[in-house]
């Protein structure tokens, strides 16, 4: 039986879509504290203000992340959610896990928490919603000893690294995203479990420029697969697409009749850099001008494939905050070989250069992308030891991105300019 009247929330059950209100009511049959979630949310709708307080000293011993303290600011009215902490569990690379494992996690949460989950949080963690401080240590013990499962990151920690399915299912993956994600997760255990930085720091790994984990939009350090050589073309398959032997986009948009496939309007004319053209029935690509947008490869996957000299582009500094403006990552290192044999030493070097600089220069609660914006891209690229390229700049023909240093100017900043002009009159 409902514990509180929730007329406004009840409205959310009336549409044709799935309703979280119905889900919570169903869960409340087993976990009565869930009635208080609905009661408090109804009050928040009425007051037009949240009644959650977050933050505190909750956690498990030895860990400085993975648990987010959450309290009600009206605990007498809603005692079931007076303490309602969130637990983040690290997801496996590519989010592959068995239904057996998922059931075990749900059973664990039914035992120690509200039973409510969020699969998955935006960083990818398996998010378990709602428990009390006294349940944390026993839950953590059972989780680590019986389920072989670890907590994810929170606070000023390295957040749980996340990757796309990569080579396990995708022929476009330019490196093994899952292997790199797993390696760095194990390599930086201390940074995941204990605070290390001025603010949060996120890694995300995408196997190709389709960027299925949206690394470029959401991560401080985005590793996005790319290739150095030419797009591989099967001209016979190109002709097959033109004749209608193969469905465009591998049939992904076949729910509607789009008419006959037209390679000129659907592929060549949509190339953002105009680097493709047809010579009769032969497709030509000026690969030097390709920006790896993936459109042509997505449309004709049987005919076009990424090149064979593969690696990744490193982009730094994205953030997707709720309150402040979102920011895309900046392309920092155009091409890096992703080499498992060297234990990904180039990736590790790049990460640690960023961390050493940001820990010193970054302000409290400042993401690395905001630090880069504050000090300027040339300074950051100098720290990274990267030569500035026109591709680092949005409009290189109109933006004076070359800045001289004093030691590069004959006579330095104090030279006699009049004297110089006498010899170099324009």
């Amino acid at each position: 039986m409902p514990k509180h009247d929730t007329p406004m929330l009840d409205e959310l059950e009336k549409g044709p879509w799935p309703s979280f209100v119905t889900d919570i009511k169903r869960q409340a049959a087993q976990s009565p504290q869930c009635w208080d979630i609905l009661g408090q949310l109804e009050l928040s709708f009425k007051d037009k203000i949240t009644h959650w307080k977050h933050g505190g000293i909750v956690g498990v011993f030895g860990y400085g992340g993975g648990i987010v303290g959450r309290y009600s600011d009206v605990p007498k009215q809603f005692p079931g959610v007076a303490h309602f902490h969130t637990v983040r569990l690290a997801q496996p690379s590519g989010m592959y896990y068995s239904t057996k494992k998922m059931r075990a996690i749900c059973d664990l949460w039914q035992k120690y928490g509200s039973g409510m989950t969020n699969m998955h949080g935006s960083t990818g963690d398996l998010v378990l919603l709602g428990t009390t401080t006294d349940q944390l240590e026993p839950m953590f013990y059972e989780m680590t000893h019986d389920l072989n499962q670890d907590l994810g990151g929170s606070g000023s920690n390295l957040r749980t690294p996340s990757c796309c399915l990569g080579m396990s299912r995708c022929e476009w993956s330019c490196y093994d995203t899952q292997a790199l994600c797993h390696f760095l997760t194990m390599h930086y255990q201390d940074e995941i479990h204990r605070p290390a930085f001025p603010y949060k720091f996120k890694f995300k790994f995408s196997g190709c420029p389709n960027d299925c984990v949206a690394a470029i939009a959401r991560s401080d350090f985005a590793v996005i697969g790319t290739w150095k050589d030419d797009i591989r073309i099967d001209q016979a398959a190109v002709k097959g697409y033109m004749k209608g032997d193969f469905k465009a986009n591998a049939g992904a948009h076949s729910g509607r009749d789009w008419g006959k496939f037209n390679i000129q309007t659907e592929v060549v004319d949509l190339c953002p850099t105009g680097c493709m053209w047809m010579e009769g029935e032969t497709l030509k690509i000026d690969n030097a001008n390709c920006t790896r947008c993936m459109h042509c490869i997505n449309v004709m996957p049987r005919a076009l494939r990424p090149g064979v000299e593969t690696g990744a582009t490193i982009c730094v500094g994205a953030k997707a905050p709720i309150l402040d403006g979102a920011q895309f990552a900046t392309m920092t290192i155009p091409f890096m070989k992703i080499d498992a044999e060297s234990e990904y030493s180039d990736v590790v070097d790049a990460i640690e250069k960023i961390w050493d600089w940001w820990m010193e220069v970054g302000k409290n609660r400042e993401r690395v992308g905001e630090t880069i914006q504050r000090v300027g891209l040339p300074t950051f690229l100098t720290v990274m030891g990267v030569d500035i390229l026109p591709q680092h700049i949005r409009e290189p023909r109109s933006n004076p991105y070359v800045f001289w240093k004093e030691e590069e100017v004959e006579g330095g900043w104090t030279r006699d300019v009049k004297e110089f002009r006498k010899r170099n009159a324009q």
Binding site: G59, G64, G155
Partner: protein, 79 residues
């Protein structure tokens, strides 16, 4: 590092004890030894947590450090 590990631990504890606010960012401890690398200061602050002399306080998005007595008093005051 100009200070030894033990001296830096003592300086961090002194800062945590006397600062006006009970919770401090890791950067607040950098001044305890300006010659120390930020990562060394972080490692020593985390050692103090392992020893039970400091505690983590987390908002969920940021983590700060605090002396157990000071932060527990602060938390109780809000309950």
């Amino acid at each position: 590092m100009a200070l030894s590990k033990e001296e830096l631990k003592a300086a961090i504890l002194e800062k945590a004890k006397t600062a006006p606010k009970p919770q401090l960012y890791i950067k607040d401890f950098y001044a305890c030894d300006p010659d120390a690398k930020p990562r060394d200061v972080k490692n020593i602050a985390n050692d103090l947590v392992k020893e039970g002399k400091m505690m983590f306080w987390s908002s969920g998005s940021t983590t700060m450090y605090a002396m157990p007595d000071r932060i527990k008093n602060e938390e109780t005051r809000h309950e």
